[in-house]
């Protein structure tokens, strides 16, 4: 459906902002599908894989990473203008990533902790998702993204349909796989009830509680889960920390971590909400 007249095949571009490269590596990790993909689309811009560049516009732009510098705000604007579809890949591009922990702190102080000459740096006080700056056609979750979900999104983009990516919770995946509930059976703190599926219930399969790397599911009840974790003996500080990791700036997780933070440090009006 989306084809670029100049090439006869849809063109794909891969862009990087503040990130670890892990999500675009996921594209190169499609070892069995990579050559077929290179046959189905023109890989027009993907500097991590090739120095060959086909000029835009592009049919599909995959964007990895969050916006953290003034230059990046301008760059994402230019990418949006030359792309039919903008698809964010991973927690950084979709919610700001682990580097959004700066949003809860003081960046001036962060700079001086890491760098002897903070004046050499150009950086913003907040790490923000791509959607805070331009319209995004689809947001693929995960830290990192799942290979099969990426292939589904690429196939859907080429075929001009909506990707089939579930928005229910990790709990549904656990039940489907017949994994014993680590929270109920072992009292292990688990973010599965509020986290979007997509990983295949990986952590519970390894006898570990979910740590929320796919971000909040559709309409999560973060407070109810927090109350249960508190009742099981976790401190407010620990509950705050588990909501404040790779999707710390996603709205539901941000609100819950701040609720816990307020409970931890009473405000002038007394206890927090």
């Amino acid at each position: 459906m989306y084809t670029s007249a100049a090439h006869g095949k849809p063109t794909l571009a891969v862009w990087k902002f503040a990130s670890c490269d892990g999500c675009q590596l996921t594209l190169l990790n499609c070892e069995d599908e990579l050559m077929a993909l290179a046959g189905a689309v023109t890989i027009a811009y993907f500097p991590e894989a090739t120095r060959a560049v086909v000029e835009g516009p592009y049919d599909v732009s995959l964007v990895e990473g969050s916006v953290t510098t003034p230059e990046e705000i301008e760059r994402i604007g230019r990418i949006r203008e030359m792309s039919r579809l903008v698809v964010t890949i991973g927690a950084c591009a979709t919610s700001g990533g682990i580097q959004a922990l700066r949003n809860f702190g003081d960046v001036a102080e962060f700079r001086s902790i890491v760098y002897a000459h903070p004046e050499y740096l150009s950086t913003l006080s907040r790490s923000t998702p791509i959607s805070a700056h331009v319209s995004v056609d689809f947001e693929l979750r995960g830290c990192p993204i799942d290979k099969n979900q990426l292939l589904e999104v690429l196939a859907a983009s080429i075929q001009g349909r909506r990707p089939r990516v579930p928005t229910y919770s990790v709990c549904v995946e656990c039940k489907r796989k017949g994994v014993v509930c680590v929270a109920v059976a072992h009292g292990t703190p688990c973010l599965g009830p509020v986290t979007q599926a997509g990983c295949g219930a990986l952590c519970p399969l390894f006898a570990r509680g979910c740590y929320g790397c796919f971000g909040p599911q559709d309409t999560p009840n973060t407070s109810s889960l927090a109350d249960r974790l508190l009742a099981q003996g976790m401190a407010h500080e620990d509950v705050m920390r588990i909501y404040r990791t790779f999707n710390a700036a996603s709205e539901p997780f941000r609100q819950e971590s701040e609720r816990q933070e307020h409970a931890l440090a009473p405000t002038a009006e007394g206890e927090g909400p």
């Binding site: 070892e31 993907f46 060959a52 682990i98 902790i113 002897a116 050499y120 990986l202």
Partner: protein, 435 residues
């Protein structure tokens, strides 16, 4: 692109460096046919890991610092585990160390196969990338992808997934893989070992520019075996010290043109970490099979030509595939997946060999296990001064090339180091100034 300066000098500006992990560029100034200034510029925006680790719990750095690099997350996880276990006075049982080594073998296979076949080989065979290279060298690219896949399979089995594995914790793992699961990977690993030996043969036929590096090499060296997940620090300058002495030997500097900190050894300037350093300092620790492959590829017991690092990476592929098979064959079920690591106040140090070189972590904890201070020294920031020194020498020899050819050759010299720019920030766009 190049443009004249008002003082008669000339600048060559090359866009984002391709086929490296992360974002960076390079700036060259050439006056009267001589290179006067070389700067590797790291644009990768700072993410402030060392700052936001403060106030986190002692159990969190393995998962958090993995996100520094999607290519070598296991390196971050294990350097963090070692440093935090050091603070808490815990040393893990030998079997847990062995399973860590196996997971790390998976990361080396995946990362080295990615670099040798997808990032570096196209330079030698004359293609912009592996996908274009596949049109003429289909079986070669297929072999590279097969090797990469078996590395990822090993990481997925032991770690849960290949990017940011979920099965690593302080004190060990959440779940141990069974002998039956491990043996299931044997046929793919055996094919991988054949592919690795074929890789050594292939890359040994490439044309390499002559170059001898005078730099000091630094690597780990364990009590036995090739350095991967542990060891003392050794250097070609005769250094041999415990990882705990790192701060007394290594100094980091912040320079204006880079968001990565530069490191120097004993105040004496550049040193090199990574495959060349490991090989030169630990050739005697390679398996006879890897030693034989190296000899047949024309490598001596040391290697000081950074362009030949692709052969050393291929030899290391042989080593870690052989090692993975050895570990799997010796594994017995019934090892408890982890030992407890209760918090304790103090300072701890940890270093492991990431595929691209030594990765150092240091943490200070209070008695509740809250992180007071964290320091991370990634391999690319240690190599950055040496990369610049290489470029200064090479650009001087290549100064008569066109800007286009010069920038391509310089990019190739940078790729010798398999730089990981995402890691180093705290890297490439090339500019050349001429007069």
């Amino acid at each position: 692109m190049s443009h004249k300066l008002t003082d008669g000098g000339q600048v060559l500006h090359v866009g984002t460096l391709a086929r490296v992990e992360g974002e960076g560029g390079m700036h060259l100034e050439i006056h009267d046919g001589h290179v006067t200034q070389v700067e590797l510029r790291i644009f990768e925006p700072p993410r402030f890991y060392e700052a936001f680790l403060r106030g986190r719990a002692w159990t969190e750095p393995p998962d958090i610092t993995a996100r520094i690099c999607g290519i070598c997350p296991v390196a971050y996880q294990f350097s963090a585990c070692m440093a935090l276990e050091d603070v808490c006075g815990v040393s893990v049982p030998e079997a847990i160390g062995t399973m860590r080594r196996l997971l790390y073998c998976g990361e080396w296979i995946e990362s080295h196969a990615l670099h040798v076949y997808l990032l570096h080989a196209p330079d030698f065979l004359g293609y912009p990338g592996a996908i274009e290279m596949a049109k003429d060298h289909g079986p070669v690219v297929e072999r590279g992808l097969r090797l990469k896949k078996v590395g990822n399979q090993l990481m997925t089995l032991v770690g849960g997934r290949s990017v940011h594995p979920i099965n690593v914790r302080l004190g060990g793992f959440y779940r141990m893989p069974s002998v039956a699961e491990l043996r299931g990977l044997r046929p793919a690993l055996e094919q991988g070992l054949e592919d690795a030996l074929e890789t050594v043969r292939l890359v040994s036929t490439f044309d390499f520019p002559e170059m001898q590096q005078p730099y000091t090499y630094l690597s780990l060296r364990p009590a036995s075996g090739y350095p991967i997940e542990a060891g003392r620090v050794v250097t070609t300058a005769g250094g041999d010290w415990d990882v705990r002495e790192w701060p007394q030997h290594i100094t980091e500097h912040h320079v204006a043109h880079s968001n990565a900190l530069h490191a120097t050894l004993d105040g004496e300037g550049p040193y090199v970490v990574g495959p060349l350093a490991r090989y030169t300092l630990n050739h005697d620790r390679l398996s006879p099979l890897a030693q034989q492959a190296a000899a047949e590829a024309g490598l001596g017991t040391t290697c000081r030509n950074p362009f030949r690092s692709i052969i050393v990476r291929a030899v290391e592929l042989v080593e870690v595939l052989h090692e993975a098979l050895r570990i799997i064959d010796g594994w017995r079920d019934g090892v408890p997946p982890s030992v407890p690591v209760p918090a304790r106040a103090g300072e701890g140090f940890g270093a492991t060999e990431a595929p691209r070189g030594v990765l150092f972590h240091r943490y200070t904890l209070d008695e509740a296990g809250t992180i007071l201070d964290a320091q991370i020294v990634p391999p690319t920031s240690q190599n950055q001064p040496s990369i610049e020194a290489d470029l200064r020498e090479l650009a001087e020899a290549w100064v008569r090339l066109s800007d286009h050819d010069l920038s391509h050759r310089c990019e190739e010299a940078i790729r010798n180091y398999d730089p990981c720019i995402s890691c180093a920030t705290h890297f490439l766009d090339l500019t050349v100034e001429r007069s």
